[in-house]
Symmetry: C2
Subunit: 214 residues, 2 copies
Amino acid sequence: MCSASSDLTAQAKIRNAAIAHFAQDGFQKANLRAIAATARVSAGLVIHHFGSKEKLRSVCDDHVLRLLVQRADEARPSGMQDPFREYLSNPEEYRLQVQYMLRAIEEDMPAAATFVNTLVDESEEILRAGIADGTMHPSSDVRALAVLSVLHSVATLTMPPPLARALGYERFGPDVLRRLALPTLELYTHGLFTDDAALKAARAALNDSPQEED
Amino acid sequence: MCSASSDLTAQAKIRNAAIAHFAQDGFQKANLRAIAATARVSAGLVIHHFGSKEKLRSVCDDHVLRLLVQRADEARPSGMQDPFREYLSNPEEYRLQVQYMLRAIEEDMPAAATFVNTLVDESEEILRAGIADGTMHPSSDVRALAVLSVLHSVATLTMPPPLARALGYERFGPDVLRRLALPTLELYTHGLFTDDAALKAARAALNDSPQEED
DNA sequence: CCATGCATTGAACATGTGTTTAGCATTTAA
DNA sequence: TTAAATGCTAAACACATGTTCAATGCATGG
């Protein structure tokens, strides 16, 4: 990265350093002096160019969002589906951008909402198409299923250290992802239960106390 | 809570206030003066009784862990399985303890490791029993499946706001949980795919490049 | 060459927050 | 009753960190 950083403008160097720090430490824990140090500039220059830490984050949000959406568009029509393989088969820089966006989702930033909506909408489309052509089971609530699958993907990619350790790894990484790939596909192919007793029980319970709308 | 707080020792009041603040805001964002204000004491007293913010957290960790494990033991042999129904059908105080432990998992505290290991071990036992008696499908990696199911539960209970909003809710809550219950059970009963093409492809891909890095 | 403007810096400033300290009040023990 | 210990507080302190400011260097145009 140092080889490329010398011919970038100071603004771009700061922005890239900020993206790395925000992705790794989160917005709050990341501090301007460390970002400035990574970018080989002073803390004052960061404010001079971006006005405030908040505005700097906004610029980073837009930048990463643009990169990810652009990459997804280029990969049409497959889009952003199968985030696991996507994540595994792409360069370090891409992983950083994904990590940044995952942090943004956790911290509920506006750019994250845009990103998540894109993912969920795309997921819902794929589900509806799969159900229509018979490759996927029908669902009582396709929208919820779309959210659920995105949630599972996000959760896997942000797996908390204690869970990674329960699997025998120091922390989340590509090896953990590979380890979980097969069980995940097995679950999505055969399910877990051999009968629908639990499902019927849940349906009954939800009908007993229908806290619902239409 | 105010009615009960008057006859608690100051230490207990501070500890309970800290649990609430840590659960709601996370350890870093929570500050001693706010905790002290909730407990109706001065900030200095918090340090006087607990030594430091870090030690205060340690006491809270142990306290919440003890309460949750005790509750799980009382609920034997069902233990901590089906966290959704457990979460929905229990009082506010219990939700706070769960929320505290979820925060501890995110922030990778020692107590969280204990809790997670309990959950995963218990989950693995249940899976092995279910597979043995034929109510669950065999798995190529039961341990990983146990981690996966715990991960899904944790992820659902800590659903980031953007995902809750993608479902049409302001933020995560009991209603979101009820909405996701059926799709989750459907997934765990029937799976998603109607054939095993994706599963076979994954098996093949993992055999082709079993240990690849770029 | 000078002047203007931009990039950049180091130091100072402001604020939030964990912690320390000195002191006060109340209880307890001799 | 006095003295020590305990519970508790307000203020001060230390430090991290976002931000401001004055000054310096350096380019470009007149």
